[in-house]
Symmetry: D2
Subunit: 364 residues, 4 copies
């Protein structure tokens, strides 16, 4: 299979460039009988959508998704689901100046070298605009997982540059412009972003995503472990440079007596594992974190070269997010949903029962 | 495809339990004409092999690999390569006591819940013994990549608990028992491990792996990006809880002006990206880091439960590595080799040329 | 991977129902640099299009395909190609009467039983309307294969009920309404079809498809042999009940001395093999034949049952081809093109050279 | 995935050459809890085994299969099953004379051209010896399908050259040397084969295979239809040149009123479809036929060429079956079992129920 598909039994295949006529995807393997309308996807699309906050790109796209197949009389039929989003605000004239330039930190150089050509308008296929389709497909998975198993998947911005969330208030997340779970830090965030915009620079971020009520037993060792497939899906989001499950890199200095989650018939006593043991879900919440690099589209000048091989000093113009991590929250949720959905179906493919989650003591 | 295969065009499929009669794998897609003998794999198998150092398990396995097919008159033929390693030191009697117990932090609980049964002898399929086959398969990829493209893949232990490598001396790595690249820290490591063994506890570690001379252009956006597939392969190693590419989680606090690698016709000026831009190799060295959790097999007692649901306090006996990160070095190298090999073939499948690496200025 | 994709390195994934808003597909893995416009696909779409002849369905669809991605400045870029065809002549009212009926010989019963629901409008996903996308995707493969390797793929109707083509005149095929290669039989065909329409019945057919200039070496034994993948692709066309390679079922009564194609340095002396030996293309033309069943949509009454389980006598109304074999010609060509393209790329994935075809003596 | 694997959720991957040390395969995706011993596979291996009848090759192989993993305490565990058969009667000296020759009708030419090399000993990977592993893997599928769903898969030789079975007596099949279901024709067969051996020539054959009690609903349109995947699996058997489902090529001259299987609440009235409608199993028995070419290994001299490009007249020596169709019966059964098993698991992967077979009236 070529690189524009993800999943084995719940398969999402996508197409579309930043400045082409449309984006689309095909979702194959969704069980029949799921009630599905465009509105189910629109909510998450709106959360990811550009132009909704002061701190994201000024590009304005309604991101209206259309269902073209696979749904009949309001329910999925078991056949492949075709989804389409028209691009409306393309402004290709903005980008003609970069036709012959490799923007530093961007995929211009690698696409050009790999394919011998590239759609330079807005980054073409390498633009994060492509992730709109992931969000749409992920919304289908989210709905199925919640309706059939009560699985809930939620993400938040856990860190933006120096500003760290010190508490996770799930209700706070959708109240601010940052998907930030710690209300006490919002003024600091606002202040930080204001200064950042002035400097013309960008900043990295950390996004966390949690799935609760995950059944025990999802994951296909030894290569397609649940954590391995989560890592694949999350590292495959634009700008991600690191993925952690549970305690992640903190384990490097942990002792075994500290890391292992003790258990009793009542449940686990902790969740250092992040919900995966031996590559199989343990029934604890599945917890993952990702590191998002600062966008390279900044107004600070930088040395680069032209396609023709000449040295050049350049500034990346255009409409860009100073912190791409913010809008990555719904994308990370979508990717986790797609992986869990796929693994649920792969588990069922072995004719195995779905085993209820295991409680983690002291967690609501 | 079920979970015991990895790769699309260079496919490794494995079988075997810790205490079964043998381990094996099939390598499918290796181009013909590669000179290959058992000795090519044995070197890396010996590096991973248990029983070679004071600080690893006392289990003694020669790990002698046999080529059963796919090689004729000393060269690969293009047909599938069958590899086999007999298990010799199985001692199943050591493990009968854990038949009805879920060892905390192990895969006992998740395998039992998923499959309704499990091979409890030495962890069965969930044992890291399975990684011997990955090392064997990876050695084939390593040899091909080096012979045809000069690609070199080397790993090291970059941190063990509190002890951090502060310099990377490639020659030092194979000289000590730890694959540690900083000779000045060996006494500290020895001391730390001695104390650890006394305590009966275990410790986490960080392993780094680097591929040099990687051509530009490997990686299949948007889902099978090179970094996404590396994350999949590395997170799929037993005990790994985190994967980083290039600067990894450090990007969270970086600015764009700091992170992006400037370039000129002479090459890149830095390698914060870790060799991947937009999911495609940039020609810089590919750099990845993984976090290895401390093994849960320790003599510190811990609360757990039986298969029957009774509470129990237990100590994990057996022959275990106090730091599984050490022996993970050759495994991480093997997995990176398998991913690069697969992507090289996927790149070729698009009838594309292989583009020479891009120098990083100031790097040898 | 779920069932709406075909291919490993050249992957076609499709969606769309007979009476939904649109059909579409994604072509993933097409090498960059191929000149491609809608017109390249339109020619074959027009050949397959309903409503073009007296002897095919009266449904009128322009089948205008739109390229939504993957092509930039007139050439493929190496990224996934999105294609879309709007449905215009849907007339759903025609089909409401079959909502609760299982038409005999149709997929109504099996879709309903499998999925517990079905889009009954015009057969939904099971309608041959879906094959429009195959023809579009196949046209891309055809163009690439011809431009890069001179491979030519052409089909014809070799038999319609009792009327058998006794000679193959390639120029005649596009001159008549039947894709029939034997001009001397056209009056007989016309006569036969006129009588058939009067009777309200339908008839089976045999379609042949030939690829010339196929390089030696395509095919991946032991399971993905070239002939096996051709059989998969052709048997997967609606209404096909048999597939032959080369001499096909005639081999049952052949002797080895008669069947084997002798060869000399000048080439093969015959082509009983149909261009495949040991699952790998031999450089002879690849020749395949398929058996197309008579459509079950006829005005001859037949016994069936309702979804509720009641017995019923019914007549299938609607706009149907009395011989679905006729319009299957461009579909068979498309499927063969897709398979050859995929195998060409799989062959390249092993870093292997493309070896020139082997002549068959006495063949032009 | 490269070409040595078959299946998506029940995946069989194989290796091994005719004259290498061993053959083996990995069966991935078998549900846990199936009782499995070597004896379950040995019965079918013995049916396929060379040297058991006057009319098959004189090579003597015990074909003793060993289970190396995936089974614990007599039951499958859900992990990958490793199987191994040692080659014992290799006689490589028999084959050195063909090192530089392309035997007409064999895969020597295509392997050499594709890979630039080949294991010439006994045909290497292209030898039908490889099918032993298919039979072993198929036996696992057969057992599961029968135990869980009562599905029974049986094959027979329906035609050998001019001798056609006119009745199918299931009990007769295992009583004669030919898997022939018509006792009245055994003397004619004996006579035919005696004459054939004298002539040094070989003959084609037709093999039929039937699965009864197949649930409704198996098959994944639009590309991985059940019939398409059966065609792939059966055309992938050595020497097969044609595949039919149900009435097969007879449909070319059938009318719709004749072909379609009428139905009532009591069941279907006939089975022209061969158990598949719209690519999905209908609950009728699944019926397939294959055409087996006559082996090209005959003592009738034939023109060919050397690897060096010289013309040569040659006779194929060695130990060969004069009719490879005979031993193909258990292989065809195995392949059908693997496909049904895979589709059963793919069906379950959509969280769908398994629907009972539909009776065919008048069939026992």
């Amino acid at each position: 299979m070529s690189g524009n598909s993800i999943g084995q039994n719940f398969v999402v295949t996508s197409f579309g460039e930043s400045h082409g006529p449309a984006l689309g995807c095909i979702v194959d393997g969704c069980p029949p009988g799921l009630e599905l309308t465009e509105a189910d996807m629109q909510r998450d699309l709106d959360r990811r959508r550009p132009g909704t906050s002061r701190y994201t790109t000024a590009r304005r796209e309604p991101d209206e998704v259309k269902i073209l197949s696979g749904v009949f009389e309001g329910k999925t039929t078991g056949t492949s689901i075709g989804l389409l989003i028209q691009n409306t605000d393309q402004r290709s004239q903005d980008y003609s100046n970069i036709k012959d330039l490799f923007r530093p930190g961007h995929a211009d150089y690698t696409y050009q070298q790999k394919y011998g050509t590239r759609d330079y308008r807005g980054g073409g296929r390498s633009s994060a605009r492509e992730t709109a389709m992931r969000v749409a497909a992920g919304a289908i998975a989210k709905k199925y997982l919640f309706q059939h198993f009560g699985i809930e998947i939620r993400g938040y911005l856990s860190q933006l540059g120096p500003v760290i969330a010190e508490q996770v208030d799930w209700d706070e997340i959708e109240r601010n412009d940052f998907f930030f779970p710690d209300a006490s830090k919002i003024p600091a965030l606002d202040e930080y972003m204001r200064e950042l915009k002035k400097s013309g620079d960008s900043i990295g971020a950390k996004v966390s995503v949690v799935a609760t009520n995950v059944p025990v037993g999802l994951g296909e060792p030894v290569f397609d472990r649940l954590d391995a497939d989560i890592a694949h899906a999350l590292m495959g989001i634009n700008a991600v440079k690191g993925v952690e499950i549970g305690d992640g890199f903190a384990v490097v200095t942990q002792h075994g007596s500290e890391h292992r989650d003790l258990m009793s018939p009542a449940g686990f006593e902790s969740n250092h594992a992040g919900g995966v043991l031996g590559g199989i879900s343990s029934g604890q919440p599945v917890v993952a974190h990702i590191a998002m690099k600062p966008t390279s589209s900044i107004s600070v000048p930088g040395k680069s070269m032209t396609v023709q091989g000449d040295e050049v000093e350049m500034v990346t113009k255009g409409r860009h997010d100073p912190c791409v991590g913010i809008r990555a929250v719904p994308i990370a949720e979508a990717m986790l949903a797609i992986v869990l959905m796929d693994h649920l179906l792969r588990h069922r493919a072995q004719n195995l029962d779905v085993v209820s989650p295991t409680p983690v003591l002291g967690m609501r």
